[in-house]
């Protein structure tokens, strides 16, 4: 059976659109608000949602997402609570949901327990930032057994051998980290994206989504020519940080994401 994530990429391909993958830290500012924010992101045109599970020591994240994790943990976010959030989202939406976190919270929860409960809650896959493909055997097996996608990261430093491994273990899509560094907004898309995508395509025909430093419509338009999807994280989380206490946060988020989404469409179909 094709996953929700794979189906989404198929649909978008037929419309010559790219996937807008939107990240938010689940539980920031509160669990119930996260549900509302995910639905707002979907209304604005986001195609896939990365639900960030906060971790106390997020070594791959820049200050914006670090602070979001602190807020979410303070507000009581847990793996179990985030699965409950997914169930509530599923009452209203069929948007693909990808858990995005670090290994330890999932390890502590248990791979089998997580896979079984995540599937039941309507989650479609998982990405663990600090789980290398070499160490992922047991995890991948459990996730597969419950029809969940496993997305792995490819990086600018990945050797051909590693790109092959990352592509092979990834299902749904492969997440290409566009530059060395932590998550965070940048002025420009990395100039080496074209060559990195080409190197990765030598090893796979799976969809590729490019992330790290993507935050503006212009970035998205640039990447339209390169990959099947783009991931936007810190720019969204920063809005949540700035307007988290405000009732018009959903409206602001929708306006911002609707503009990004335009960049994923063929120029003649995109609204200016």
């Amino acid at each position: 059976m094709s996953s929700r994530i794979a189906q989404k990429f198929d649909e978008l391909r037929q419309r010559d659109e790219r996937a807008l993958v939107a990240y938010l830290t689940a539980g920031d500012p509160t669990p119930s608000r996260s549900v509302s924010l995910v639905l707002a992101l979907e209304r604005a045109g986001a195609d896939i949602i990365e639900l960030g599970v906060p971790f106390s020591d997020p070594i791959a994240d820049g200050p914006v997402i670090q602070r979001a994790a602190e807020r979410a943990l303070k507000a009581g976010a847990t793996v179990a609570g985030i699965l409950e959030m997914a169930r509530r989202i599923r009452q209203h939406s069929q948007i693909p949901l990808l858990l995005f976190t670090y290994l330890n919270p999932v390890l502590r929860y248990g791979f089998e327990r997580l896979a079984a409960e995540a599937r039941e809650a309507g989650i479609d896959g998982c990405l663990l930032t600090d789980l290398s493909v070499e160490e992922a055997g047991d995890y991948v097996q459990r996730m597969r057994a419950h029809d969940l996608d496993t997305v792995f990261l490819a990086a600018p430093t990945s050797t051909p051998r590693r790109l092959e491994l990352v592509a092979r273990y990834s299902t749904g899509f492969v997440y290409l980290v566009s530059r060395t560094g932590v998550t965070g907004e940048q002025d420009q898309v990395s100039g080496s994206v074209t060559s990195m995508v080409a190197a990765l395509r030598n090893h796979t025909s799976k969809p590729i989504a490019v992330g790290f430093g993507v935050s503006r419509r212009q970035h998205v338009e640039t990447l339209r020519a390169e990959a099947e999807g783009v991931v936007v994280g810190s720019a969204i989380v920063r809005l949540i940080e700035q307007y988290g206490a405000s009732p018009d946060l959903e409206q602001r988020l929708e306006t911002f994401v609707r503009e990004l989404k335009q960049g994923t469409r063929a120029p003649e179909l995109a609204a200016r």
């Binding site: 106390s56 330890n104 060395t180």
Partner: protein
């Protein structure tokens, strides 16, 4: 995670850096190829006589190896039990064992063509040792240090700056070693192409735990030969404090095949287990992943890393080095913990019986030897005196007010 294999008497990791189920390589993909490169460079250096010759020369003429093995006569006599020997790493250049590993890694960094060095530091000893070797080799040096640790180890902050290093304070989380490592790793994932992360403990992703241990094994090798020469036999027990576990693994390692030698690691008991303010990973933790390695970790039920406490910054860390986890599970080493107060009293006692003011970290190992000595008459104890106490004078003053008042 690989499944447990047969017990290796010499405790070597498998090809992918696992000590039994522990260790491994749990880092973002961006660091995986650089770690592979580091491992190859390290194995290559290990095979190169010129690398060893240069390192040995520096250890001898620059750092001051070999260090003495000193019989603590008055302390032993006062305790009336085991005969206590001290491996005097406190006499090494920069005041602690940390320089052994720093010299090894800086040579390796140069070999790999990396000109920028970053490091984390807790107590500041590793930061000072890193700043020192960077000065020696003319390398750019940035040290990350928790803001709380900068406060309690301010002398070491100035030493690093005087040596030309940039010290970056980390105000996140508990503002201690864990947060300093987080920030160092963020720097590393950003600047990995020209930067070597000179990790200072037997922690992190493979090959760090192996490499750091090997660079520190000189302590155990020397001590083993020295005690055989002095006493004509091996010690009955070896004591060392364990934060990440570099001084302990360095002195334990050559004794691992000696089944009759008890290996005792001493963790920070802090204010006591009941308070939750401690860094006793074996009694309070469960296996988990932090900073690249799978090992015993102080964490909550949701897998969030716990805040730790110890009066000594160098032991104040949530994960224990993976090889210690393996030695523990095999029953080859035992791990105990000593609280803040007992460590402080041991430091005073060693000062007054032997004229040696130990580092606060080291005082935890000394305290356990003091506790056990009366119970084992006729035995020989070896304590790794891993560092000297100059850097801790401020904390000693804060905690020993009656002494400071001259009472």
């Amino acid at each position: 995670m690989s499944s447990a294999t047969a017990v290796p008497a010499t405790s070597q990791p498998d090809a992918s850096g696992h000590f039994g189920p522990y260790g491994g390589r749990f880092v973002p993909e961006v660091l995986m190829a650089p770690l592979e490169e580091l491992e190859i460079a390290y194995r290559d250096a290990q095979q190169d006589p010129a690398f060893h010759a240069e390192l040995d020369d520096l250890l001898r003429h620059y750092a001051g190896r070999e260090t003495p093995l000193y019989f603590a006569k008055r302390l032993s006599h006062e305790l009336g039990g085991a005969r206590i020997y001290l491996k005097r790493e406190d006499l090494l250049h920069t005041g602690a064992h940390k320089i052994n590993n720093c010299l090894g890694q800086v040579l390796l960094a140069r070999r790999m063509g990396k000109h920028r060095i970053i490091a984390e530091t807790g107590a500041g000893q590793h930061g000072v040792a890193t700043a020192t070797v960077c000065a020696l080799f003319g390398m750019d040096c940035t040290v990350y240090m928790g803001a709380e640790d900068m406060r309690r180890q301010e002398i070491n902050v100035f030493r690093m700056r005087m040596l030309g290093a940039k010290v970056v304070g980390v105000a996140n989380g508990s503002q201690t070693l864990k947060d300093a490592i987080n920030e160092a790793m963020r720097d590393w994932v950003t600047n990995v192409t020209d930067t070597h992360y000179l990790l200072g403990s037997a922690l992190g992703a493979h090959p760090y735990p192996l490499m750091v241990r090997d660079f520190h094994a000189c302590m155990g090798k020397e001590a083993r030969a020295q005690i055989l020469e002095r006493e004509g036999r091996l010690p009955d027990a070896v004591f060392a404090c364990v934060g990440g576990g570099s001084n302990a693994i360095g002195i334990f390692h050559p004794f691992v095949p000696d089944a009759n030698v008890r290996l005792v690691g001493v963790e920070a008991g802090g204010r006591g287990k009941a308070t939750g303010d401690h860094a006793a990973r074996f009694s309070g933790g469960a296996p988990g992943v932090l900073h690249g390695a799978f090992s015993y970790l102080l964490q909550d039920d949701d897998g969030q890393v716990s805040l730790t406490h110890s009066v000594s910054a160098g032991l104040d860390y949530a994960l224990i080095g993976p090889e210690h986890a393996w030695l523990h599970d095999q029953g080859r080493a035992s791990y105990v913990n000593i609280g803040d107060e007992e460590a402080l009293q041991a430091a005073v006692r060693l000062s007054r019986t032997e004229g040696i003011i130990p580092a606060l970290e080291t005082a935890h190992g000394v305290a356990e030897a003091i506790r056990q000595a009366p119970l084992h008459p006729g035995e020989i104890f070896l304590v790794n005196l891993s560092g000297r106490g100059d850097k801790d004078i401020g904390i000693y003053r804060e905690n020993l007010k009656e002494l400071d008042a001259g009472l």
